[in-house]
């Protein structure tokens, strides 16, 4: 489904600030894989997400989605295959548009946007049904401006918008990090049920170690632009946060340096 081969990316090449964000990354996701990604600050997790979604183009190596090489395609052209939820709850929705207008924008993901009405009666019924699944009462507020929603509600809406058209790949970029614990738990639960129900191929970056172990069927650990550990479903089952941290120190030779890391 998703395949990265020998992908490298340098920032500020040839200057004193040169930084190797990704070095020779090889990563293959099978259809339906749900992979969690952890790593210290500056490990290249965000760059990995940006390389896949097309915000950043790799210096070398190939990105394939469903067998097609997409390395040079700009972000808006990859939008049809990739759903994405950002860390910032404000990033995934348009605040001055209503809930149903936001959903209408997501509904035509990657299709040609023409002069047919964004919201029709049948689409509205569909949106309502989808919102009901979130279970937080948004289905009664279709015409409320998204700017009036709380951070948690906006993030739930972003998650729905990113997934309800069944994209081939779902990218979650620390999408619960900016929320309070109760909201984060709600979004985590929704993520789990949506990904399982739709069998979405998912890559999720997280700072929460416990979450990284609990969710998904595979865990990868990054450090200094490399994938240093790849844990399959079997091994992941019995894993504890302590073991994971010890493993990290053994391989990387330093402690997990991350002021935001949550041990669960």
């Amino acid at each position: 489904m998703l395949e990265l081969s020998k992908v490298s990316k340098l920032f500020f090449p040839g200057t004193p600030d040169e930084k190797a964000a990704l070095i020779g990354i090889n990563l293959t996701l099978k259809p339906g894989d749900f992979v969690t990604v952890i790593g210290s600050n500056g490990a290249g997790k965000s760059t990995l997400m940006n390389i896949i979604s097309g915000v950043v183009t790799p210096d070398s190596g190939d990105v394939r989605i469903g067998g097609n090489v997409v390395s040079e395609l700009p972000e808006y052209k990859r939008g049809r295959w990739i759903g994405r939820v950002f860390q910032d709850p404000m990033a995934g929705t348009a605040p001055h548009l209503t809930i149903e207008e936001n959903l209408a924008i997501a509904y035509v993901r990657g299709k040609k946007r023409g002069l047919s009405f964004g919201i029709t009666r049948s689409k509205r019924a569909f949106f309502q049904e989808q919102l009901k699944k979130l279970g937080i009462g948004l289905d009664t507020r279709l015409r409320a401006k998204v700017g009036q929603l709380s951070g948690g509600e906006r993030q739930a809406l972003s998650l729905l918008m990113a997934t309800f058209t069944e994209p081939q790949i779902l990218l979650l970029d620390e999408h619960t990090a900016a929320l309070d614990p109760a909201r984060a738990e709600l979004i985590t639960r929704l993520t789990e049920s949506i990904v399982r129900e739709m069998k979405l191929t998912t890559l999720m970056v997280t700072h929460n170690m416990e979450q990284a172990i609990r969710l998904g069927n595979r865990l990868i650990m990054m450090d200094k632009g490399r994938i240093i550990l790849d844990i399959d479903e079997e091994r992941k089952k019995g894993l504890t946060v302590e073991q994971l941290l010890r493993e990290f120190e053994n391989i990387s030779g330093h402690k997990m340096a991350d002021d935001r890391v949550v041990f669960g």
Binding site: S53, E75, Y76, K77, R78, G79, R80, I82, R84, F86, M90, A91, G92, T93, A94, P95, H96, L97, E101, N102, A104, I105, A106, V108, R109, G110, K111, R113, G114, L115, S116, F117, G118, I119, M161
Partner: protein
């Protein structure tokens, strides 16, 4: 007092003629969040194309449509400069405005063209009735457009460009489309104003962006902007109110017609400052009240213990 009342019908008429320009400014300024200074040039472009074609014997209807298309083209160039050329938004507008100054002179062949004795749209029509119809039709069309998939993408571009890109829309294209549409309306307004005034002049567009902003802001201050329909109607209403204010200001004996520009600037400044000041005052007030409540609750709880 009498003179003021007499000037009102004329002011409403002018307000509706310039309302199309205000709607254009609304598209760039409010929907795209792009301060587009092309307007000063493209307004004249509209007047210049219409006047030139009419004096060369073209049908005034055809001339008006051509003027509108000319404005669209000018706007598209500004959009291209900004998106493909990566030039700062304000600067792309200014560059296009300056370029249009020469282009407009080329179109007209001289600094001004009189339309006296020529057949214009308004020869056989009541300006007021016609403009009410035109403005209504354009407001309705604009509202319908902004509810289509493309229109929603345009609105999202100004609201959250990163989000709409992640859903597969090319924001360069939506920006170019929006600026083009906006300047089409501005040039249409210029073409109609030239026909109403009976001449086109190379300086007729100077200060137009500020008048457009004034209309949008005055309308929002009075009517609010809860929905798109409301906001577009507010722009039209603001344009009419602006003309009435100007008409009244001109009745004041110590003000000259040449003071119009500073009156406009002052209106915009006041209309921009008041809502911001109001909002911050409200927020401070609410925060103070809420803090006091919380403190009281704490003391009360402490008292019980």
């Amino acid at each position: 007092m009498h003179a003021i009342w007499n000037s009102i019908p004329g002011a409403i008429e002018l307000g509706l003629l310039y309302a199309l320009m205000a709607l254009g400014v609304y598209i760039t300024f409010r929907i795209l969040d792009f301060p587009d200074l092309t307007v000063d040039g493209s307004f004249t472009t509209g007047g210049a194309i219409a006047a030139t074609m009419i004096t060369h014997g073209a049908s005034p209807w055809l001339a008006t449509i051509a003027a509108c298309l000319g404005g669209c083209a000018a706007g598209a160039v500004t959009g291209l400069l900004h998106t493909k050329g990566r030039i700062n938004g304000l600067l792309s507008g200014i560059l296009m405005m300056i370029a249009l100054y020469s282009i407009n002179l080329r179109i007209m062949g001289r600094p001004n063209i009189s339309l006296l004795g020529e057949g214009t749209i308004f020869n056989s029509l009541s300006i007021l009735a016609f403009m009410v119809g035109v403005v209504l039709v354009i407001v309705v069309l604009l509202n319908l457009f902004l509810k289509t998939d493309l229109g929603l993408a345009l609105r999202a571009t100004g609201d959250n460009a990163r989000m709409i890109r992640s859903f597969g829309a090319h924001t360069d294209h939506t920006i170019i489309l929006g600026i083009s549409l906006s300047n089409g309306l501005v040039a249409l307004s210029g073409a109609l104003v030239a026909q109403q005034a009976g001449y086109a002049d190379n300086s007729m567009g100077i200060g137009m962006i500020v008048i457009g902003l004034a209309s949008v802001i005055i309308g929002e201050a009075i009517l609010g902007a809860r929905t798109i329909l409301w906001a577009t109607l507010a722009a039209v209403f603001g344009s009419v109110v602006y003309r009435i204010v100007v008409a009244m200001a001109l009745q004041v004996s110590w003000l000259d017609a040449s003071d119009l520009k500073i009156i406009t600037a002052v209106i915009v400044i006041v209309a921009l400052i008041i809502p911001t000041a109001q909002r911050s005052w409200k927020q401070k007030h609410a925060a103070r009240k809420r803090s006091a409540e919380l403190a009281d609750m704490l003391t009360a709880a402490g008292g019980e213990r």
